[in-house]
Structure formats: C-alpha cells, structure tokens
Amino acid sequence: MNRDEVRAALLKALVDVAPEIDAAALVAAKPLRRQVDLDSADWLNFLVAVHQAIGVDIPDAVAARLDTLDKLVDWCAQRSAAA
C-alpha cells in the first residue's frame, strides 16, 4: 500500500467512527484528536477500524505518539510495506 492509499483508508476509518466530521477540512500536520474531539472510545474504535481496513495493528504505546494524521500515515505505510 502506498501512502495515498493508506491515507485514504485512515480517513475512511475516521469517518466511520466519527460520521460528523468533515475529513476534507483536517489539517494533517496538526494533532488529530484535538481537531476532531475523539474521546478514548472513539480513538480505540478508530484503531480497530484501521486494523480491519489495512491489517495494521498499532500498539497502545505507539498510538499515543502518533498524534497527527501525517505521523499515522507514515507509521502505517511503513508497517504495511514491511508486512
């Protein structure tokens, strides 16, 4: 999966758990959870949806570091390339 495909999959997963958000207006370099007000249940739902969509399981400790869409895309793209 290339970065664009990963990004599209992540955005779809995000809209899946938070249908109210406007994914087009997200700033990829800014902290994601603050932009779209994801609580801990939304966040875990998002991680589960990402896993279902692209088969990448982001560990708890890593997920805390991946606070922007850009970082999430980088990490997932790298992981899915390695798999």
């Binding site: 997200l26 779209v36 875990l44 708890d60």
Partner: protein, 414 residues
Amino acid sequence: MIEFRLPAMGSDMDQGTLLEWRVQPGDRVVRGQVLAVVDTAKAAIEVECWHEGIVHALLAKPGVTLPVGSLMAVLRAEGEDADEVTRSLAQRTGPEAGPIAPVPMPVAPVPQAVPAAAAAATPGERPRISPAARRRARELGIDPVRLAGHAGGGAVSLHDVEAAAQSAARPPASAVAVATAAGGARAHAMRQVIAAAMSRSKREIPHYYLAEDIAFERAAAWLAERNQGLPVSERLLSAAVLLKAVALALRRCPEFNGTWRDGGFVPGAGVHLGVAVAMREGGLVAPALHDVPTLDLATLTRALLDLVKRTRAGALRSSELADATITVTNLGDQGVGSVLGVIYPPQVALVGFGRVAQRPWVTGDGGLRAAPVVTATLAADHRASDGHRGALLLAEIRELLQEPDALDAREETR
C-alpha cells in the same frame, strides 16, 4: 391483538417522527426485534418490540409525527384469527384512533429546516436508507431521494451518501461539520430537550454532591499489563474499569440505582448504566449499557465501543434510551479534574469521573510520591438517599478499583 405503541425513549421525549418501517404485514416478529425507525429530537432510534407475533397492520405512516403512546401497528399472536383482529381493529374508531392521525402542530423543526432531505420524502417515495446515512445526508444537505443505493435491497448506505458528497464540489468548512442548516436544526432541537430535562432536574431534584480522590495506580498497572501484546480488537478501556466499579458498587448501594416516580423510589430492575456521550455537533446522549455487573471487562469494553459508535452514527435502539437506571459521565478525556453533574430525571443519581492524572499521593506509610489518581463524584437525589449512604457508594467504588482482578469477574447471579 397485540398493540405496538410509540414508547417514551427517555423522559425528555414526548413525540417522535416515524422514518421507516423495518417490517411488513405478515412478517413474523421475535422479542427484541426492531420494527421501526423513529426520529426524536436527539437521534433516529431503532424501536424494538417486546412481543412475539405476526405483523397484522402498520397503522402509522412514515413521515408523520406522533405523540408518545400512539398506536403504531397491530400484531396478532400465534394462532390468533386474522379476521378477528381486523374486526376488533375496525371497532377502534373515535378517540382511540385519534393518535394515528398526523399531529396538527408544527413540531419537528428538522423537516422545515431541511427541505432537501426530510420534507421531500413523502410516504410513497421514501427511500430506504440507513439511519447513519440519513443523518449524514442531512448534515451534508443531500437529498437521499436522489441517491442511488448500493446496499442490500438498493438501500442507501452511508457510503453512498459520502460518495455523493464527494462528487458535489463544496467548500470545506471546519473539521467538525456543524454549519449546515440540518446540523443546526438537530442541535437546536437537542438543546430544547436538554433544556427541558435539566430544568426539570434542578427544579424538582434536591441534589447533594460528594467527591472522592481515588488511587488508580493498581488499575492502571493492571490495564497496561493486560493490554500489552493484545491485538487492538481485544484491548481494554480504562472507562470500562470505571463503569464496572460503579455497577458493582450499586449492587451494595441499590438506593442509587433506579428512578423517582410518584413520590417514591422505584429500584431498577437491573444495573443499566447510562453513558453520557458528548455529540460533536453539540448536546449529549446517554444511552444505556445493560446489566453491567454481568459483563467481564473485555465484553464491557466491546459493548461500550459499539454503543459509542452507534450513538455517533444515529443507530441507537429504543431500549437503550429508555431504561438507564443511573448515568455515568466521564469528562476525563477532555482533561477536567472533576465533574459535579446534573441528574437526568427520573433517575436519582449521577456518578462522574475526571481525568486520571499523576498527582501527589500520600502512601500508607506516610511517604509522598506521584501516582495516578482519579476524582469520582456523586450527584444524588436527597429525596431518595442521604449523604452518608452516598459516601458509602463512593467508598465502594474506591475499594473496587483497588482489586482489578475481582472487577474483571462476571457476576453470575442477578
């Protein structure tokens, strides 16, 4: 003849608009089956039926707003004669048939503000569309009648709506879509029902408040250990730990679990925790997790995730909005230290949690160090309980949180 009437889904609901039927005459219905989708000020809700039988006649028409208690459909029991049911139904003319007719008042603000999505949908041409898709279409100002559905039976799915939204060039708004007329109308309607319920609460319920700082060190360590190496689909949420502690504590302090009706306390039939979920477009909904003491933490986490997801997608069931026996609000994710809540009538208590944070903590031997601490609060109805019992409830929650293994266990008997 079995009557299917519009249930009150929460004390703040007095009417609902039928969006669609999920069954047709002749269908066999099992207990708990969703028969209809009804829109309320807070959300589109899947209305369950708690009888078994065969759908005899659907009386309410989609698009019509009905007061709570209106006869919506008639079922016949197994073996009941269809002609007999038709006859007894025919006898129900006059006042009894009244509620079936449209309510002649300008009730639903949503259709008026959303000419595209709601008003265009007259009964005959109403599209089949999932609640989540309908809600999204409203937010985007898209008319679902014009959408081609690709889900089962040609129904319009959320994906269809998203695809339509992407093909229509529209200027980006904020990251949280609240600016559409539809979102605004929903937010306004929700504010009205919240205003009514909270005003009633403060008018009628003599609240008292208690707070307790609770060491979360053992629970946090236990969670970290359990979650380590678990696939994301099996990971546990700390919110589930807090909810389970509340549920088990209520077993020992049952006077906080139930409702105040007609001048007296009515104990809850089970421990059904209403979980406050803040909506991004404004307002909140507190659907119920049922029989929480009987769930282990893995099951409870999955149930909580599912409930939050369906709340956001507008796919809640009537029972989830009708029968919470207490509300739990967790504002810790937003970073506040504690919350002193307003009770959701006719419930008699609300338990709140703030953020789990590192704070100075005096240990048993008089030492001082940093440890994860959470502040639990109780807002309770002084008509139903006293401060001493409230303190016992918080103390129970505190002790339960020190024994995560015991918390995880399922309660076998109710």
